[in-house]
């Protein structure tokens, strides 16, 4: 019974059936479904082959298919650009406003997010060193830190904007508040990562605290530190953009999104989203690259 079912290729038959039904119902739907099923067929075939090249092409084909379907759906169903602009329209908006987008990028990402990220993560690592030396702080600060890390800290944005004004300082402060606790928890965890045996070995070498820290504990903490640094990249961008909703000078990604939504210039809004996405993946990718350079010895980096 079971084997009889398996001998019939269910999925291709179902796909053709869906196509035929959709063709009778609506030709536009037929076109979209045809693109989807065609791409899926190619991807299934490619995945069955395997290999490193396939691992790159399959997701690329999948992403491109989504874009084509998006474009097709917007054009065929004449969706209003206010609701959902086509990818081509977004690309045009992006190309037309590169100066504006670059200015926003510098204001929000480089001045706000990056400054807060460096200050927040740096401070968290320093505090983690202090926490590591005191059992009392470990017992006291860690539960509080873990609790605070789960809270909607982005809500402090209006307070910081009120205190520090509309400039990048308030954005950086929000970012500091957002990245501090996740980074702290990871850094403390990392400083505990060296084994008792390894620490004893350093002790038998009569290594000082500083030597043991630089030569053993910080290197073993690096995978944890990078985990925290990677989580914090996204948090930093979110903090900087959201803080601009509460007040900003007339430049910045959050400001532009707010204004452009008000004017219903959705192409520009989506172009800003593209910039945010690129900045986010770029920032994260940079950290991954650094991690690979510095923690090449860790099992997770082996290939």
């Amino acid at each position: 019974m079971n084997s009889a079912f398996r001998s019939i290729p269910i999925l291709p038959v179902a796909a053709v059936a869906i196509l035929v039904v959709a063709g009778f119902y609506d030709l536009r739907l037929w076109a979209i479904l045809a693109v989807w099923l065609g791409a899926w067929f190619v991807n299934t075939r490619l995945s069955a082959m395997g290999g490193p090249v396939v691992a790159i092409w399959v997701p690329v084909i999948f992403g491109a298919t989504l874009l084509v379907i998006w474009e097709l759906a917007v054009r065929l169903y004449e969706i209003s650009p206010v609701i959902l602009p086509a990818p081509s329209a977004i690309a045009v908006a992006f190309a037309e406003n590169t100066d504006l987008l670059w200015a926003d990028f510098v204001q929000t990402i480089l001045k706000g997010a990056l400054m807060g990220y460096v200050i927040g993560c740096g401070a968290a690592v320093l505090v983690a060193l202090a926490v590591d030396r005191s059992l009392f702080l470990q017992k006291g600060l860690l539960p509080v830190g873990a609790f605070l890390a789960a809270l909607p800290i982005v809500g402090t944005a209006p307070i910081f904007v009120m205190w520090l004004g509309f400039g990048p300082a308030s954005k950086a402060a929000v970012v500091v508040a957002m990245v501090f606790f996740p980074m702290l928890v990871n850094a403390v965890e990392g400083l505990k990562a060296s084994s008792a045996m390894q620490r004893d070995l350093m002790h038998t070498y009569a290594a000082s605290y500083g030597q043991s820290l630089m030569k053993l504990r910080l290197p073993t903490a690096l995978p944890f530190l990078f985990n925290g640094l990677k989580i914090c990249t996204t948090l930093a961008l979110i903090g900087a953009i959201v803080a601009e909703f509460f007040g900003s000078p007339t430049v910045g990604m959050g400001f532009r999104i707010k204004i452009a939504v008000g004017r219903l210039e959705m192409g520009l809004v989506w172009a800003e989203i593209v910039v945010a996405a690129l900045a986010g993946t770029g920032f994260y990718g940079l950290m991954t690259l650094l991690e690979r350079q510095l923690t090449f010895w860790h099992p997770s980096q082996r290939r």
Partner: protein, 320 residues
């Protein structure tokens, strides 16, 4: 007759209760101390930040204030730069216990927009609805990814990449767009929280469903178990710890998502709306109380999931 109690006798045989108390104190005392220090710093900060306002008003009215009066005034301003902790707690109390949750308006029983519970509900309802939708969809996609190689190769890289994108920051746009289509109320907000809880669950559950060892999977193959039997009897049970870990991440993200989604759309109800109106009118106490309410909600949701996790793991025999 008087009995003399030898103090050393008690100390020598510590009662079980005393040991338990000491253990609790050992865990709680440091955390309480840290919280106490934070509150102290907060009071000091409130004094320092509000002093200039007090001195300015005093100067304008030509009144000389003693140090004590200045301190008292910094603790009780209507629109302080930093409200003192007791002001925030008083505001929280007044807007929750001090306000009716429902009141009669034009002959109908309606929710009272002055009650903070009402705003918390406006935020929590879409959060939880979206969280359930998002987690279920994430679970289904994870099952698909584990069983279908084409799906794994096409979707996984995008699911991971999407976590590096500051999606939260663009949540308000989705709300505006959906409002333009005529969708208002709970649905747009819960879409955001569904989207935000979706990806953590996908990534976590793919890891969890793949966590059974090759040995266990081989054993089921020798039993000639079908894919669905393997799923229900091995993969799903062994993925439960991963499930709860990603659910906790997901619900925290979902709550933040709903709050942020309320920001630039001029929503009138909800914790995000309280934050926004508070910042427009300089009502700092209102901002802080909304922030605390959000924190309480987040903590409660995560704690509920933690409780469910402990009960489930214990019943599965995995609990510590």
């Amino acid at each position: 007759m008087t009995t003399t109690v030898d103090p050393t006798e008690n100390a020598a045989v510590p009662c079980a209760f005393c040991v338990a108390m000491r253990r609790v104190a050992g865990a709680v005392l440091p955390a309480l101390t840290v919280v106490g220090v934070i509150v102290l710093i907060w009071y000091a900060g409130a004094y320092l930040m509000n002093r200039s306002i007090t001195l300015d008003t005093a100067e304008r009215r030509d009144v000389e204030l003693t140090a004590g009066e200045v301190f008292a005034d910094t603790m009780a301003q209507e629109r302080p730069r930093l409200p003192a902790p007791h002001q925030v707690i008083a505001e929280l109390w007044n807007t929750t216990a001090g306000e009716e949750m429902f009141r009669i308006r034009r002959g109908e029983l309606r929710p009272n927009p002055r009650s903070l519970f009402f705003h918390a509900y406006q935020t929590l309802a879409p959060t939880i609805l979206g969280f359930i939708i998002g987690s279920l969809a994430g679970l289904l996609l994870a099952i698909g990814i584990v069983h279908n190689r084409a799906m794994d190769l096409s979707v996984m890289p995008w699911a991971i990449a999407s976590q590096t994108i500051p999606i939260l920051a663009v949540a308000p746009i989705v709300i505006v767009v959906l409002n333009a289509v005529g969708l208002t109320g709970v649905v747009p907000k819960s879409l955001i929280s569904a989207y935000l809880s979706f990806f953590p669950v996908v990534v976590g559950m793919v890891k969890g469903l793949r966590s059974p060892s090759a040995m266990d999977l081989d054993l089921l193959r020798t039993y000639s178990a079908s894919a669905s039997e393997t799923l229900f009897k091995l993969r799903l049970p062994s993925s439960v710890p991963f499930l709860f870990a990603s659910l906790k991440v997901g619900i925290a993200a979902a709550l933040v998502g709903t709050i942020v989604a309320e920001l630039p759309t001029g929503a009138r109800f909800g914790l995000g709306a309280r934050l926004l109106t508070g910042s427009y009118y300089g009502q700092t106490i209102q901002i802080w109380s909304a922030l605390f309410m959000a924190a309480i909600c987040a903590a409660a949701l995560v704690a509920l999931l933690g409780l469910a996790e402990r009960i489930t793991l214990r019943r599965m025999g995995l609990g510590a």
